[in-house]
């Protein structure tokens, strides 16, 4: 997909979301859902970049999100650092953790990378709940209950003024999406794809596998950490229950719906899945089953997700032109 097409899809997707508050701005429940769309869009598309685009089967994405959220919240609560700064610090902290997790993965084949990274996910919950977590200020099993909201020049972005908060998070989310776009379309993106397709061929042409694989970990976990921080300050509460498999699997569904490795598909996938999940709320306990069934159908019918349909259209169009 061309850079222009990619940019157009991103702008349209965020544009559609941006006009919605005109109609539903006074319904906090729906505004909340829209903000979740913006947040999951970043988590899902960073995950898609490392897993689908770069072909590194990292299952540590939710763990990085939680690390970013806790890092930013703990710094803001315990050290009274303004959230604007703690969010940035959380980004760098999570990027560092990403590199640490990435290092042992360099020598491993696909399935083992999945195991190692999922191990990190599994270890995080007991760590945050236990003595170490409590010493670090995680709040243990109870979690964090009074995370200060983002505040810029004395103006507080919280649930009380949800429309401005929505636009702030929209700007952050879109900035993350554009960063991803710039990356996958740059020569870094070329290196990621070449390494995914044939590491021997890629390295024989001068690409450092070490450098570029760690770069994927660093950048995707940086963005995930940032948006994790934003999430915590918006919600005001955090708990280790985020590490249960619900979030993990719904993010996976978002990526599949958008099209694995078809950025910016994951952004659209996130918007659609959040909406679908809310629409199915009346189904109660049958919601998860229905969602599962839809996923199966989706994967069989549209293996490249929404984006697969899009790019086919665009290609046909280009060939006719």
């Amino acid at each position: 997909m061309k850079l222009k097409q990619m940019a157009a899809i991103i702008v349209i997707a965020y544009g559609v979301l941006a006009v919605l508050p005109m109609f539903v701005g006074d319904i906090p429940y729906i505004m909340n859902i829209l903000i979740m769309c913006l947040i999951w869009a970043v988590v899902a598309s960073s995950w898609d970049v490392i897993m689908g685009f770069a072909g590194i089967f990292s299952f540590g994405q939710v763990a990085f999100f939680v690390m970013g959220a806790y890092c930013s919240a703990i710094l803001a609560i315990n050290f009274h650092i303004p959230p604007v700064f703690t969010i940035i610090i959380a980004g760098f902290f999570t990027a560092g953790m990403g590199v640490l997790v990435g290092l042992p993965c360099l020598k491993l084949a696909g399935p083992y990378v999945a195991l190692v990274t999922f191990g990190v996910h599994m270890a995080l919950q007991p760590l945050l709940k236990g003595q170490i977590g409590i010493a670090l200020g995680s709040g243990g099993a109870l979690g964090l209950l009074a995370i200060p909201p983002i505040s810029i020049f004395g103006y507080t972005f919280g649930t009380d003024n949800i429309v401005p908060t929505f636009y702030l998070i929209l700007v952050i989310s879109m900035a993350c999406a554009l960063t991803i776009m710039a990356m996958v379309k740059s020569y870094w993106g070329l290196a990621f794809l070449a390494l995914k397709d044939s590491q021997p061929f890629a390295t024989s042409l001068g690409i450092s596998a070490f450098k570029y694989k760690l770069m994927v970990f660093a950048v995707t976990s940086f963005l995930t950490g940032i948006i994790g921080g934003v999430y915590g300050h918006f919600y005001g509460v955090l708990s280790v229950r985020m590490l249960d498999l619900d979030l993990f699997s719904i993010l996976m569904v978002m990526i599949l719906a958008g099209g694995l490795g078809h950025f910016p598909g994951a952004i659209i996938g996130s918007f659609l899945v959040v909406a679908a999940s809310e629409l199915m709320a009346p189904l109660g306990v049958y919601r998860a089953v229905t969602m599962g069934a839809i996923v199966v159908v989706l994967v069989l019918a549209l293996p490249d997700g929404v984006m697969g349909v899009f790019s086919k259209r665009l290609n046909n169009h280009a060939q006719k032109a």
Binding site: Y187, A191, L193, A194, S198, F201, S204, L205, G206, A209
Partner: protein, 236 residues
């Protein structure tokens, strides 16, 4: 230019390359032959940094053992693979861009890619994804991508395998042009003796990782030890 001294590679108990020494000088076309499993591809993998080994490999006087594949590529040693490698997610043009962008320190130069596409004759496939190329196309792609790194040495691993007479002729011409017009030193692994005697100035024969003989291809191919090793090992 490229000098291997007492190079040994073990895979567990198996000695794939056994105390091998040879030297390739600038501007040469240097051939390597030997029966299946003789260790030819392994020699390439050692030179290009894919495995560690015992002994020494020097390029332009510089020891390259311990260096990573991408660093060796950036020094000017390039290669193709016996099992054709492609980037299915990338087009022909983008694959050459990989070599051009990462393989040499100089900046991206679109005109160079242009020249190479013409040189290896991939003009009509330039926007195709490389996974869809036919065998000859894949080989030309590997050579083109390697050329895009602006190599001093190009090492070809059985470039003729699976090709018909017509394609072999075209590939031989391409190799000669790379050597003469672009001034690139060539090392070639090949099973076709005719190709080797026609192309190379020096021919090295190895068997079970050990040198059998090395020298003028006409002399080497009539050496009784070589004939015996080929008759003895020729069971496929």
């Amino acid at each position: 230019m490229l000098k291997l001294s007492n190079v040994t590679k073990r895979f567990g108990a198996l000695i794939a390359v056994n105390n091998l020494s040879f030297e390739v000088s600038q501007g040469q076309v240097f051939g390597i032959a030997g029966p299946n499993g003789a260790g030819k591809s392994t020699v390439y993998n050692l030179i290009t940094g894919f495995y560690d080994f015992e002994g020494s490999i020097r390029f332009d006087g510089k020891e390259i053992s311990g260096m990573k594949p991408h660093q060796i590529a950036q020094l000017g040693i390039s290669r193709t693979f016996q099992i054709p490698q492609t980037f299915p997610s990338l087009t022909v043009e983008q694959s050459l861009e990989v070599g051009n962008r990462f393989g040499n320190r100089a900046k991206h130069d679109a005109r160079r890619i242009e020249r190479i596409i013409d040189f290896v004759e991939l003009q009509s496939e330039r926007h195709e994804f490389t996974g869809t190329l036919n065998l000859l196309g894949k080989k030309k792609l590997m050579i083109g991508a390697a050329l895009a790194t602006d190599p001093k040495i190009l090492m070809l691993d059985e470039p003729m395998a699976g090709s018909n007479a017509h394609e072999i002729k075209a590939l031989m011409e391409l190799i000669q042009r790379m050597n003469q017009e672009l001034g690139i030193t060539i090392i070639i692994i090949e099973h076709f003796m005719k190709v080797l005697t026609e192309l190379t100035e020096t021919l090295l024969i190895i068997e079970t990782g050990t040198e059998i003989c090395c020298g003028d291809p006409e002399v080497v191919t009539s050496d009784p030890r070589v004939i015996e090793c080929y008759l003895g090992g020729d069971d496929d």
